[in-house]
Structure formats: structure tokens, C-alpha cells
């Protein structure tokens, strides 16, 4: 178990180091930071002074180490727009994004998993086909289309809910539904196929052959096994809690991390973009780590012999 934990932790750390390095490389590739910040027609002496003061004349590996050390101290640079620390700008937006993505995640799980299980248990029935049809529709329709349709129906035509902004909880309803439906569809399809696979396993037949009633066999023998692959998808959804709402936040003018990202990219505000990138990567890596640990809890086979090919 300790070995399992150690390997997973090491891998998570390595991923973060790679992401940080990637951010550094991209930052350098995107142009001379001095010129980016000072603007192209700044006097050459000023640019040279800037380089000197920020250490841009040092060898690249020294810059890399310094950059790395800064990130370790939590210094992610300053926004080139308003001069505030990038981390601060991003942090203020996080609650707004989570206010959309966490309820959406609950919808995804609460709707998707039961729908998938039900469809699998009633394979080829009318209900199964209906659920799968809805699921295909739900995950093929892009979220901006779904979002706009919902706005058209519930905001414009019926006037029940506001179409955008963040003044009250009612403003969150449409974006949360938009986010939730797509994810619920993905999860329903995935849960269904995981359940179907498990229901065909010999140990299900064994359970029935020893007299376990069907519904008990489903609960006690099928669900714990089907949970193993399903947790992967849920983990991925947890990992995208911060970055998964870029499009929907834009459609509903919701002032979250996603909107900040769009604005920062448009303004070439690299420090902010980089900060969001690192934060999103950190969330994803953490979620993956938690999923790996959950695997260990759900599947005794992985606890004993860690295999690298499960992520």
C-alpha cells in the first residue's frame, strides 16, 4: 500500500514539474518578455535596464531555476495589465467558477450514474433506448448551442430565468444545467457499458447460482465492480472543475476563471494565463491522484500489485 501510494505521489509530482517546465518554455517561445511588457517602441536603454533587473540576460538554465524557485514560493508573477499578482486575480474568480461547476458535477453524477445503471439493467428495453438516445444527444450537442437554446427558451421566450450575469442564484440555474447535462450524458453512457460488462462476468452467474436475489447481486456484486471504471470518468470531471466552464461562462457572462482566461489570452496577459494553466494542471493532477487512491480502495488487485497502465 505504501509503495502504491509512493509511486502515485511521485508520478503526480513529476507531472507538475513537466507542466511548470512547459509553461516556462511557452512563455519564452512567445517572444521577448521585456518587449512584451515594455512595448516595442520603448527606448532601448529602458529595455536593457529591464532585462538586467529581471535577470533576462542570465543563462537560460539560471532563469529556469529562478522561475521554478519563484513558483515554489507561490510567486506566479504579476498581471501585465493591472500590475496585481496574477494569483490574486485568479483566486478571486475561483469561487464563482466553483459555484457553477460543483452543482453541475452533482447533477452529472446524480443523473448520469443512475441513468446508466438503469439502462444496463433494462438492456434493449424502451427505457434503455430512450436513455441512450438522450445521452447521445446530450453529449453531441456542444455546450454553447445547448446554452443558447436554454437561454432562448427559459430566458427569452418564457422569461423564467435571467440569461446572464451573477446577481443571484437564479442566474446560476441555466449555466449549471448546461454544464450538467453534457457530463451526465457522458457518465450515463460510460456507466451503462461498465455495468453491461460486469453483468456478463462469471462471478455474477456464481452469485445467482448460490441463491443471491437478483437485486442484491446487482448491488453487492455488480456495482462495486462497475464503480472502478466509472470512477475514472468522475475523477476527470472533478479535475476539470476549474477549467471546464470556459465556454459556458462566456455564453452566460459569468465572471469565473474561464472568462478571466479568455480575457487574459486576448490581452496577452501571460502571467495570468500561466497562473490559470498551473492551477488547472494542479487540480487535474490532484484529482488523478485521488482517483488512483480510490482505485486502490475499490480494487484489491491493484493494492497488491501496482500496475502502471491504469491512469
Amino acid at each position: 500500500m505504501l509503495r502504491f501510494l509512493g509511486i502515485r505521489l511521485a508520478r503526480a509530482l513529476l507531472t507538475m514539474v513537466l507542466v511548470v517546465t512547459f509553461a516556462f518554455v511557452v512563455l519564452r517561445l512567445s517572444g521577448d518578455p521585456a518587449l512584451l511588457i515594455m512595448s516595442a517602441d520603448a527606448p532601448p536603454e529602458a529595455v536593457a535596464a529591464f532585462r538586467e533587473s529581471w535577470g533576462l540576460n542570465d543563462p537560460i538554465w539560471q532563469q529556469y531555476l529562478r522561475y521554478f524557485a519563484a513558483i515554489f514560493r507561490g510567486d506566479l508573477g504579476q498581471s501585465m495589465r493591472d500590475g496585481r499578482p496574477a494569483i490574486e486575480l485568479v483566486a478571486e474568480r475561483v469561487p464563482a467558477t466553483l459555484a457553477l461547476t460543483i452543482p453541475a458535477l452533482l447533477i452529472k453524477i446524480g443523473l448520469g450514474v443512475p441513468a446508466g445503471v438503469y439502462a444496463a439493467l433494462h438492456r434493449n428495453s424502451f427505457a434503455d433506448r430512450a436513455v441512450m438516445l438522450l445521452a447521445v444527444a446530450g453529449f453531441t450537442v456542444p455546450s454553447f448551442v445547448l446554452g443558447l437554446v436554454l437561454v432562448l427558451v427559459f430566458a427569452v421566450t418564457l422569461g423564467w430565468l435571467p440569461s446572464g450575469g451573477q446577481e443571484s442564484w437564479r442566474h446560476a440555474v441555466l449555466p449549471v444545467i448546461t454544464l450538467g447535462i453534457g457530463g451526465a450524458a457522458v457518465l450515463a453512457r460510460f456507466t451503462r457499458s461498465a455495468m453491461l460488462e460486469v453483468l456478463g462476468q462469471p462471478y455474477m452467474r456464481t452469485a445467482l447460482a448460490k441463491g443471491v436475489p437478483w437485486h442484491v447481486a446487482v448491488r453487492r456484486h455488480a456495482l462495486p465492480n462497475a464503480a472502478i471504471p466509472t470512477v475514472t470518468i468522475i475523477g476527470f470531471m472533478v479535475g476539470s472543475l476549474l477549467a471546464g466552464a470556459v465556454v459556458v461562462e462566456s455564453v452566460f457572462s459569468w465572471p469565473g476563471v474561464g472568462r478571466l482566461l479568455v480575457v487574459a489570452v486576448a490581452n496577452r496577459d501571460l502571467a495570468v494565463v500561466q497562473c490559470i494553466l498551473l492551477l488547472v494542471a494542479a487540480t487535474m493532477v490532484t484529482a488523478n491522484l485521488v482517483v488512483d487512491l480510490l482505485y486502490g480502495a475499490l480494487d484489491p488487485r491493484l493494492r497488491a500489485a501496482p500496475r502502471g497502465a491504469t491512469a
Binding site: Q201, Y203, N225, P300
Partner: protein, 328 residues
Amino acid sequence: MTTTPLVEIRGLTASFDGIPALRGVDLLVGRGEAVALVGESGCGKSVTWLAALGLLPGKAAVTGSVRLDGAEILHAAPAVLDRVRGGRVAMIFQDPASSLNPVHRIGRQITEALRLHRGMDGAVAKEEARRLLDRVGMPDARRRLDAYPHELSGGQNQRVMIAMALAGGPELLVADEPTTALDVTIQAQILELLAEIRRDTGMALVLISHDLGVVAETCDRVLVMYAGRIVEETASAELFSAPAHPYAAGLLAALPPMDGPRRPLAAIPGGVPEPWAMPPGCPYAPRCPRHVAACDRAVPPLIPVAPAHRAACIRPVEPERTPELALA
């Protein structure tokens, strides 16, 4: 002789998506009797018992009659079947490793059956599970209760399956190719264990196998299946000395002899006809060396050819001709 057999199967048919897998199986299992069901893969040996216990997937259409102690259990209510399965008729399967649930400890899988059929719980159930594991020859039974199936070998997993099957104190154990996935040395141990348990408990045994050697050691009576029907039924010894159905004779000719001169093994030509392309008469006719035109007219019924010996053949192999046929 008791009047009601333990299990009486009459005219059992099963089909999947309209393609028949069983074409009318009749068989009896007496109390405490050891019966073998032999035949090639796909002839319906396993399906017979899965159908009888209602364990086939929902798309399978099953008809006929299955009586346990005189009471009909085919299409019985789920609550009735749940009492029968594991309680009166237990079943073990070919691949023990995948027949056990990978995420539950084996102790828990055994106590589950004890709770269902004997109302045991907690420490009592755990102690009984340990006793059962001991009974099936599991070394270090107490510690093994906490093991997961992947931590045990194939033979040990099959012992767990047998312990689980014994948990309900069944009157009949259906063993579906219980040794096929195991090493030869382990096979012998498992067969010995089954025979021993049968001696101790008086439980009946149905051994489903394609291995005639296994059958000869373990069972009193043999039923030979071909293409979804029973084609021969007799005592084990009789089947080996005087098979009546040319298919059974062919199976025996394909076995290497234990003594006597070495001879080439006679494979049966051709294959089992596809379920959707059954010949009009005897399904074995296209492969049969004794085939005549009359064989194609109707499916031959299972009729007595000698005392306690029945075969579904209009030109059965005569006893004295067997050696000659085997050498041919």
C-alpha cells in the same frame, strides 16, 4: 428405490434469438447418484443445467419441465428459485478465478451463502466458513478467509467455489467442467475431493465434462449429449465396454488406450452441425460411419438397446463389434 427422482428434466428446450441450443432433453438424477454429462463443446451440457436453474440470460427462451423432488422449478418465482439455487442445487463452474468476485474477500463470499441458506451471521458464519474451507482441503483456512481471489491459485479458488457450494448443504452439486482450467495434478485432487464429499454427505453429483477419463473415475452413470439432445444413457462401465451410439463409440475410439498396443487415434470426421443447419434426421448422420438412408428420415428417439442402456440410434453399434470398430 425411491419413487420420485431428485431431479427430473422432461423435454427441456432452450433457444437464443430463435436458434435452438437444447432440442428436448430428458434426464433423471437420483438421490446421491453421480451422473456424468459428456459431449463436445457446444452440445448443450452446461446450457441444460443453466436453463434448469433459470441462470440463462433473459433473451434465452426455455420450455419443458424441471422437477426437483416432484415440484416444478422451471419458470418458478424468483423467491422460490433463490431458495433452490445454492440451497438445494449448487453449481460450480469451469473457470474458478473469474467465477469469484474479485473485489470481495473469499470469507465474505462464503458467509454470504451461509447467511442466505442457513441464517448464519457474524462470528458463527465466519467459523463455519473456516470449517468449510478446512473441509475442502484449503491450507491455513483461517487466514485464507481474508484473502482475495487473485491471491489464490486456480485450484485453491476451485476449492473456495466448492466450499461455497457446500455452504447451503445442497442435495445436488452440478459441477460444470470443474477441472478443465486446472493443472492435471490439481484435477485429480479436485475430483478426489468431490468423490469424498459425496461419500460423506450423500449429495448427488452431476459432472459436466468433455473428458471421458474424468467421467470414468467419478461417475456411476453417463449421459452422452450431441447437438442439444441426449443420445446415449448407460452405466459408466457399460459405456466404455459397449457403447451403442456410433457417436459415443467414436468418442471412445478417439481416446488413447491405457494398455495394449499403440494405435493411431481415430478422430471423428467433420464437426457438430451448426444449429441453424441441422440435418432433418439424426444430427450425427453426416459424420456417422454407420449412416444409411433411413437415418435421414426422422430424429431417432432414445430407446432401450440393453437393460439400463438407451441410445438414440436406429443402427446401434453391437457390443461384439466394438473392438473391431475401434481398430478400424
